[in-house]
């Protein structure tokens, strides 16, 4: 009522001010609130938060929708790794996660322990998954993720540069590998680069050999306290550090990323790099004239591959469209779904009813990868994977610079694990 006691000009000014202010407030509230909608009639909509990009998943989703016309997939795409993990984390916490999403090494503990993902053990497609794929996403006998592919990591060699020093057969032990590097260096060819922005594939493979010696129980023993990083890692790290002490690999790799190393290889500036099967397509596209071959990482007396099971598909435990979501995940494991996925990614798929056609350069690793004979510590660690991976990466960068020793690196990881378990 007080408005009517003001003069007309003041009143109109006040009214318009109020209207503008309220309007602006509403705009702000609307902008902050966001909105969501769902539905459609006659069809069931399954939401899917994809790890792979549109180019990969679009044909797969189209194939599913064609085979299941009553189900529509509403896909959104994340940016691996941290962007995807943090977005999924927020959505799960707020109860707005999609029906189907990705479970991966970086979040599997939180997803499985927190009851966010549905048990897939009794799904018919579970029997079609590779043993390594099932093992990776199984906890307490329950399967929580369905992975269709794995990747292998080793030494990618430029055959033409190796031929310049008369080498046509791959080294089968570590001493021969160092000797090959020395020979290349003497010929004026940079022998080997490996990025230091993570645990390198060569070290992972050397640790894999150690894991084999312990019947695949190395990490289980470290984490239950019956062994330690000092007992199991010091040897492989000492072997690996010979790359730098012998001059086979430049200490400058401490500041290099995978992309920088790959670019050097594509330009023909380095004879061998440590990388994974995922990099092959990009390298071939950038440098089609290179003759390439993947070599297993030579250990002291045997060779091995680094590698891991790829991220798997999981169903939201709180999904209201469980039946349709199961159909979608089932299709993703089917030979039709895997064929479309493999065509888009050229990855080493591992489902039992589909044999992928792969690039010849991957032939050396295909059997080992499909049978799960590979190792990657950060995937194998049962808990605290992210923290230990960060710590190991930083310690190894210090080691490359010559500022610490293999035994100190291993001891530091033991101390880190102890503090985390605290």
């Amino acid at each position: 009522m007080s408005l009517f006691r003001t003069s007309p000009s003041n009143r109109s000014r006040l009214v318009s001010r109020t209207a503008i202010a309220l309007g602006a407030s509403l705009v702000a509230v609307a902008a902050l609130a966001g909105c969501s909608s769902a539905g459609g009639s006659g069809t069931t909509t399954v939401s899917f938060y994809s790890w792979d990009g549109t180019a990969t998943m679009k044909p797969v989703i189209a194939g599913f929708e064609k085979a299941n016309p009553t189900i529509k997939i509403q896909a959104s795409y994340g940016t691996p790794v941290q962007g995807y993990i943090s977005t999924l984390q927020t959505r799960l916490n707020s109860g707005t996660a999609s029906d189907v999403f990705i479970i991966t090494a970086e979040n599997k503990q939180q997803l499985m322990d927190g009851g966010f993902v549905k048990d897939l053990s009794d799904e018919p497609f579970a029997s079609n998954l590779a043993t390594a794929a099932k093992d990776t996403y199984t906890k307490n006998g329950k399967l929580y993720g369905a992975a269709v592919a794995s990747w292998g990591g080793g030494i990618l060699a430029n055959e033409d540069l190796l031929a310049k020093v008369g080498v046509t057969t791959p080294p089968t032990n570590w001493a021969d590998f160092i000797s090959l590097c020395t020979k290349l260096k003497d010929a004026g060819i940079t022998p080997f680069y490996e990025p230091a922005d993570g645990i390198s594939v060569s070290l992972a493979a050397l640790l894999g050999i150690e894991n084999q010696k312990l019947n695949g129980q190395m990490d289980a023993k470290i984490f239950d306290g019956s062994s330690s990083f000092a007992k199991t890692w010091t040897g492989p790290i000492t072997t690996w550090s010979e790359l730098f002490s012998s001059g086979a690999e430049s200490r400058s790799v401490a500041g290099l990323t995978g992309d920088q190393v790959t670019t050097e290889f594509e330009k023909g500036n380095v004879a061998m790099i440590g990388t994974g099967s995922w990099a092959l397509g990009g390298i071939q596209a950038a440098a089609p004239s290179l003759k390439l071959d993947f070599l297993a990482v030579p250990g002291v007396s045997s060779t091995y591959w680094a590698g891991a099971v790829s991220p798997g598909y999981a169903i939201n435990a709180k999904s209201k469209n469980t039946s349709a979501a199961e159909k979608f995940v089932s299709y993703l494991q089917s030979s039709a779904g895997v064929a479309l996925y493999q065509k888009a990614t050229a990855s080493i798929t591992t489902t039992k009813d589909f044999t992928p056609t792969l690039d010849p350069a991957l032939s050396t690793m295909t059997a080992a990868v499909r049978s799960g004979d590979f190792y990657l510590p950060q995937v194998s660690w049962p808990t605290h994977s992210a923290e230990l991976n960060t710590e190991a990466t930083s310690q190894l960068q210090e080691l490359i610079q010559g500022k610490t020793t293999p035994s100190a690196v291993a001891a530091d990881l033991d101390a880190k694990l102890k503090s985390l378990a605290g």
Partner: protein, 317 residues
């Protein structure tokens, strides 16, 4: 009609009503104006006050970002911060970075502003050139400088050094000390032009009478700078130092794109550690404790720096 009513009132009542009406009108106008603050207030509350309060709350819990089933852990998260060598290293580099950035940018920006304040051919173009590094995203600059400072022999800077001196590649981003220096150098390069223009704006507001009078009195250029220009620039220094110090303490984008926090933990910053703990390690409680503690540290440092700036302003202006 209203006029007649008022005119008929006794003088004492009229005297009472006038200030009341005046106050009421002022209150109404102020209330109307205050409504304009509502949108900003909503944004402040939703995007700052609530998340900040949540962070304080989470800092006393073992919240992992996924499940709302978490427990109170008291001061355990705060205790962990003081026993983690990684965080000590991150704090050390962050403070070094902020102080070095503030000092070096000031040392370069003031002389640059003095030069840009003179009349010479192409002055506006030169001003634009120095201002340019402040335009692109720092993340993009980090990637570009990563290419320039590539530690391999075919890195841009290493190629130039080799061509001029014949020296082998310098491990700019592959050696802890060099990586720290490189990060600071790139940040100084990025910000010097922007802050020089800030000083330039203040320089142009100095009355020419002061300078002319000093010149007539026989003051040298150095004396004019020391006793007139520099004291009159202290308000600009307050603004510049505040921006440099707060942005320096909160830095994330440049180190993460240039060095990814390495080698080792050499260029890891506190904000990077907060994000690493909160997202990758799913330790939101611990990350929140670090964020709260860091907010306090930034607050104390900024208050101390503001106090110092005010002291200088009072002394010299």
């Amino acid at each position: 009609m209203a006029f007649e009513t008022v005119a008929a009132m006794p003088q004492s009542r009229l005297a009472l009503r006038r200030p009341q009406r005046g106050r009421l009108r002022r209150w109404r106008e102020e209330a109307g104006a205050s409504l304009f603050l509502v949108p900003v207030l909503i944004v402040f509350v939703v995007l700052f006050a609530i998340p900040m309060s949540q962070s304080v709350y989470y800092s006393f819990t073992n919240f992992n970002g996924y499940s709302n089933d978490f427990a109170n852990v008291g001061l355990r998260n705060y205790a962990l911060i003081f026993t983690d060598p990684t965080l000590a290293s991150a704090l050390g580099f962050t403070i070094t970075y902020a102080i070095a950035l503030t000092v070096l940018v000031t040392l370069f920006a003031i002389p640059l502003a003095l030069i840009l304040n003179r009349k010479f051919f192409g002055r506006n173009f030169v001003r634009s050139v120095y201002f340019f590094p402040a335009i692109p995203s720092v993340a993009i600059l980090g990637l570009v400088w990563g290419f320039i400072l590539n530690p391999l022999g075919d890195g841009v800077l290493n190629t130039v050094i080799h061509a001029l001196t014949g020296l082998g590649p310098v491990p700019w981003l592959a050696d802890s000390t060099l990586a720290q220096l490189s990060t600071i150098a790139v940040a100084v390069w990025t910000l010097t032009g922007w802050h020089a223009l800030l000083y330039l704006a203040y320089l142009q507001s100095i009355p020419s009478d002061f300078l002319e009078a000093a010149t007539i009195d026989g003051a040298s250029r150095l004396q004019i700078f020391r006793f007139i220009t520099l004291p009159l620039l202290t308000p600009a220094m307050t603004v510049s130092w505040l921006l440099l110090m707060t942005n320096g303490l909160k830095v994330y984008d440049l180190p993460i794109t240039l060095t990814r926090g390495g080698p080792g933990f050499a260029t890891t910053t506190i904000t990077q550690a907060i994000i690493q703990d909160g997202i990758a390690s799913a330790a939101v409680g611990q990350a929140s404790a670090l964020a709260v503690l860091f907010l306090l540290v930034v607050g104390i440092v900024v208050l101390a720096q503001l106090g110092l700036s005010r002291l200088l302003e009072r002394k010299y202006t």
